[in-house]
């Protein structure tokens, strides 16, 4: 792997939302999860992750709560809010439409 793939801002938001849709997670775990699931292709830069988390919280899509981590430390857990869920659905649909369209263009053109 040369350089971690730069993530477009909107994409990072989508990835974060999707990742914590299953269960509340802290920042480190979110980064790990995205890397694992994408098979090490998507490397989330912490310098982008945390501002994105704070922005999403500010926008009300996610909510933060302090909790106990797997190694018994206090960690900030982020969970999807109700409006966040709706937002995720519409964004995911958007994304799928967009990528399908791009795929079509790339295949046929």
């Amino acid at each position: 792997m040369s350089k971690p793939t730069d993530l477009v801002q909107g994409t990072l938001d989508l990835l974060i939302l999707k990742t914590i849709a299953l269960e509340p997670m802290h920042g480190w775990a979110i980064a790990q999860r995205i890397r694992q699931v994408s098979k090490e292709v998507l490397q989330v830069n912490q310098g982008a992750l945390y501002p994105a988390l704070h922005r999403l919280e500010q926008q009300g899509w996610i909510a933060a709560e302090w909790g106990e981590s797997e190694n018994n430390r206090r960690a900030k857990y982020y969970a999807l809010t109700k409006s966040g869920k709706k937002y995720l659905q519409s964004e995911q649909a958007n994304w799928e439409r967009l990528s399908a369209a791009i795929g079509l263009v790339l295949k046929t053109a």
Binding site: H26, G27, W28, Q32, N45, Q46, G47, Y50, P51, A52, H54, R55, E57, Q58, Q59, G60, S69, N71, R73, R74, A75, K76, S83
Partner: protein, 885 residues
């Protein structure tokens, strides 16, 4: 909900900054630690694990800053920081701060004070239910009946009230003066006879007791009275048991049934209300315009619709009763607008003048701020170079200028409480009691809100001016410069524009001030036809019961006059019903000329009626033109005679043969006695708003005695020193009679035009401030531009330029700026002067001398403002000025 939470977050970020910071710190720290333990689990050494984790994370501080920004802390925090910074800058230059804040406070304060008057008098004059649906209704005979003459006949009013379709309700009323109290303590009080539904139509309830009940309008059951809050406090000492008590009015006993709320005094200045009890004959009368009327429009009916409907109504009456109603048009006017006719021109002029003062002050301050910005150019460039965006810079300067205006606004508010009270009490009650809402002039929520708005607007304006400046900063160029920073032509243009604006405002204000003051001076001499100096006036009101018949009245006044005339130093003692400058119109009367062909109802002539004793014309030195004066021989039993004013004589007997003709009071069907005109006297200006040549009929007191008269004494020394003597004279005749309204006629005149005097003073202050501010403004800009050219001037002088040419160069610039300003201001001033002349009762008139004088004054000021810095530059040794920089 989301935005609530978002705001909560922001607030938390600002107020619990430490807590939020700590959390952020912990969160990131946890991340690094978690990575370290993950790295350890992957088999790295402790040292290596730590290094790798930190390396992977990148810049912690940068990440934190981005997180803060994502939370929107930035804006709040930086605003606080900017305000703190602004405060420090202001403290660093206390002189500049003091001057600017004072200038602004003056401008804002002037507006606050005037607005408090506008607020009370124009915006909230009455506390009535849905004020805008209340209208005044009256009948217009199509001839000039004098100031404020809006009356209706009882018969027409009743018809109108019964006609479906126009009004929801309608009521009539009329002033009446009463002698209140019992023998020995009779006080005159101005009351109002009102239809029993009067208060219901206005939508006002009593503070205590009840309103009038139906049935109380019938003669005989009308002896009930409602008193004003003021009368209750003043006359009855706030007696809690007042209701149900008996009150003697003109010798009749009335029961007090109600007390009105504090702010109710309609129609001003009434202090007492009794039912309007008309006999059936009086009620049906269609010839005397004797009542005032008020109506409430039906919901959804506009004033113009009502006016249109009334045209038909008048037409119908005209057809039905041609003898009485010919040519009479029923007219409506919104109650609120009726007031405007009187107060709007005065106070809008003051408000406009005050706002000009503020604009001038703002322009001046903008110039000062601008000058300071030039000094701060390097700071701005540095900030821009370090990455401050334009918006960020705007916020910085806006918070600085907002600080100015906030400070000035606070100062203005603090001063306004005192200044508004001073304004309210600076005008004698004799005048202000006629102005509805005058006592309501105070600093209330509206006034404070207005002040805040004005202050904020000024702050934003100044901030905007500052931004004009920063928009053209080029960091690269500015930072490389050595001097204090160059002034680009664009910037100089802005400053020049500000100077031009100041010249415009200054000239307009000065011209307005000049015209108002001139108007006042002219008003003071408007009372023509008599000599007010050395005249004492005293009002006497005899109780109705004790002086029921004319002989008694006659005897009292005869003895009083005889005694007064015998006092040493009294030249003439006389009586009149309504002396000049009383602020009250004369009683008017119709009259019929003997032998004249019958005229249409609307052409019945009317005139003022005065009743005077023989000495009256001597006491006031009113000129005597033809025939003979009253004499003591014109007694109750001799032939009835009258004198008429020359205005009346010229109008009705243009051939000059008035004496000898007979007239009688009342319309054509009048049964009054015929009165022979025996002489003509000069015209007298009754009140400052009356035309000089109003027709006046004078009846001799002996033939028509009245209980309420004003005694006029012409004295040979200070008039008020004769008051104790007059009391000595009056007491033995009737110890129960009190002397009131004691004043010299000269002071009475000054009081009657006090409002114009106060306006003159205010406008004068505004004008002076305008002159001072604009002089400073012109001087500031010119001295700076000269200072910047010191180098150039030095070179020119060194190369042998003629100092006079250089001087002309600088003076030329001064003249150019002022000239442009004056060229724009002159037409504006002329237009405003013309508007003033038509609005302010004609006391102000266009005066080119004033215009010319102030134009010259401003030019001289500009020349001086250019000359001083130019001379300074000339005197500098060329060598020094070349080294300057």
């Amino acid at each position: 909900m989301r935005w609530i939470k978002s705001i909560g977050n922001r607030l938390r970020s600002v107020f619990y900054r430490n807590a939020a910071e700590r959390e952020l710190d912990q969160e990131l720290k946890f991340h690094v630690e978690r990575q370290i333990s993950a790295n350890l689990a992957a088999g790295m050494s402790a040292e290596e694990a730590r290094r790798a984790a930190l390396l992977e994370f990148g810049g912690v501080e940068q990440c934190k800053e981005e997180c803060r920004e994502a939370r929107g802390i930035e804006r709040f925090e930086s605003l606080l920081a900017d305000l703190r910074y602004g405060f420090r800058t202001l403290r660093k230059s206390p002189g500049f701060t003091f001057l600017s804040v004072m200038t602004l406070a003056l401008g804002i304060g002037a507006n606050t004070a005037i607005f408090s008057m506008v607020n009370a008098l124009l915006l909230h004059p009455y506390n009535f239910r849905s004020l805008d649906t209340l209208v005044r209704v009256w009948e217009d005979r199509g001839i000039d009946e004098g100031f404020d003459a809006r009356y209706i006949t009882p018969g027409d009013a009743e018809d109108l009230r019964l006609t479906e379709g126009f009004f929801e309700s309608m009521t009539t009323y009329g002033f009446q003066s009463f002698g209140m109290g019992t023998e020995g303590d009779v006080q005159p009080v101005l009351g109002c006879k009102v239809s029993v539904n009067f208060f219901d139509v206005l939508g006002v309830g009593p503070a205590a007791g009840r309103l009038f009940a139906p049935g109380e309008e019938h003669p005989g059951s009308d002896q009930v009275a409602i008193v004003s809050h003021g009368l209750w406090q003043r006359r009855f000492g706030g007696d809690a048991q007042l209701l149900g008590k008996s009150l003697s009015l003109n010798g009749r006993a009335y029961t007090i049934v109600g007390i009105m709320p504090k702010d109710f005094d309609y129609p001003v200045p009434a202090e007492l209300w009794v039912p309007l009890a008309l006999t059936p004959a009086e009620k049906a009368d269609r010839s005397q315009l004797s009542l005032s009327a008020l109506a409430r429009l039906k919901a959804g009916v506009s004033v113009s619709q009502a006016a249109a409907a009334l045209v038909n109504f008048s037409g119908r009456l005209e057809q039905e009763y041609p003898k009485t109603n010919a040519g009479r048009k029923t007219t409506v006017l919104q109650l609120r607008k009726e007031l405007y006719m009187f107060t709007l021109p005065l106070f809008s002029l003051l408000q406009v003048a005050a706002s000009f003062v503020l604009l001038l002050a703002s322009a001046n301050l903008a110039n000062l701020v601008f000058a300071r910005m030039i000094g701060r150019q390097r700071e701005i460039a540095m900030r821009a170079a370090l990455g401050a965006s334009r918006g960020r810079l705007a916020q910085l300067f806006l918070s600085e200028t907002m600080l100015f205006s906030i400070l000035a606004g606070i100062l203005a508010m603090a001063i306004s409480f005192g200044s508004v009270r001073a304004l309210r009490t600076s005008i004698p009650v004799g005048w202000t009691k006629w102005v509805p809402g005058w006592d309501g002039i105070r600093v209330d929520g509206n006034v404070l809100a207005f002040t805040v708005l004005v202050a904020a607007a000024v702050g934003i304006f100044l901030g905007w001016v500052t931004m004009l400046h920063t928009s053209r900063v080029e960091p690269n160029k500015t930072l490389k410069e050595t001097g204090a920073g160059m002034v680009t032509p664009a910037k100089r243009r802005v400053r020049s524009a500000l100077v031009v604006a100041q010249v415009i405002f200054a000239l307009v204000l000065l011209v307005c001030a000049g015209l108002t003051i001139q108007g006042f001076v002219r008003l003071a001499s408007v009372y023509q036809g008599f000599e007010p100096a050395s005249v004492l006036r005293v009002e006497i009101s005899l109780p109705e019961k004790a002086y029921a018949d004319k002989v008694k009245i006659q005897n009292f006044y005869q003895q009083l006059l005889r005694g007064a005339a015998a006092m040493p130093g009294v030249q003439v003692a006389s009586l009149v019903t309504n002396p000049p400058a009383s602020n009250v119109d004369n009683q008017t009367t119709y009259f019929t000329i003997e032998g004249q062909a019958a005229v249409e109802a609307n052409e019945v002539p009317s005139a003022d009626l005065q009743i005077a004793s023989p000495g009256f014309f001597d006491a006031l030195k009113i000129s005597f033109l033809a025939g003979r004066e009253f004499s003591d021989a014109d007694g109750p039993d001799s032939a009835r005679v009258v004198l008429i004013s020359s205005g009346m004589a010229n109008r009705f007997w243009p051939r000059g043969d008035a004496p000898g003709h007979r007239i009688r009071l009342g319309a054509q069907d009048s049964q009054e006695a015929w009165l022979t005109i025996v002489g003509i006297v000069g015209d007298v200006r009754q009140n400052w708003w009356n035309p000089l040549t109003r027709p006046v009929i004078y009846e001799p007191f002996a033939q028509s005695p009245q209980r309420s008269m004003t005694v006029l004494l012409r004295t040979s020394s200070e008039p008020t020193s004769y008051v104790p003597g007059l009391r000595e004279v009056s007491r033995p005749i009737d110890a129960g009679v009190t002397l009131r309204g004691i004043n010299t006629l000269e002071e009475e005149i000054a009081d009657s035009i006090a409002i114009v005097r106060i306006m003159g003073i205010l406008m004068g202050i505004f004008g002076m401030v305008a002159l001072a501010l604009s002089s400073i403004g012109v001087y500031g800009v010119l001295s700076e531009s000269v200072a910047q050219r010191t180098h150039e001037i030095g070179i020119r002088l060194a190369l042998g330029a003629n100092p006079r040419d250089l001087m002309n160069l600088v003076l030329g610039q001064a003249l150019k700026l002022t000239g442009i300003g004056l060229a724009i201001a002159l037409p504006i001033s002329m237009a405003i002067a013309r508007a003033m002349a038509s609005l302010i009762f004609g006391v102000v008139s266009m005066d080119f001398a004033i215009l010319g004088a102030f134009t010259t004054l401003l030019l001289l000021v500009a020349l001086l403002a250019g000359y001083l810095p130019a001379r300074r530059a000339m005197r500098v040794d060329p060598m020094i000025s070349l080294r300057y920089e």
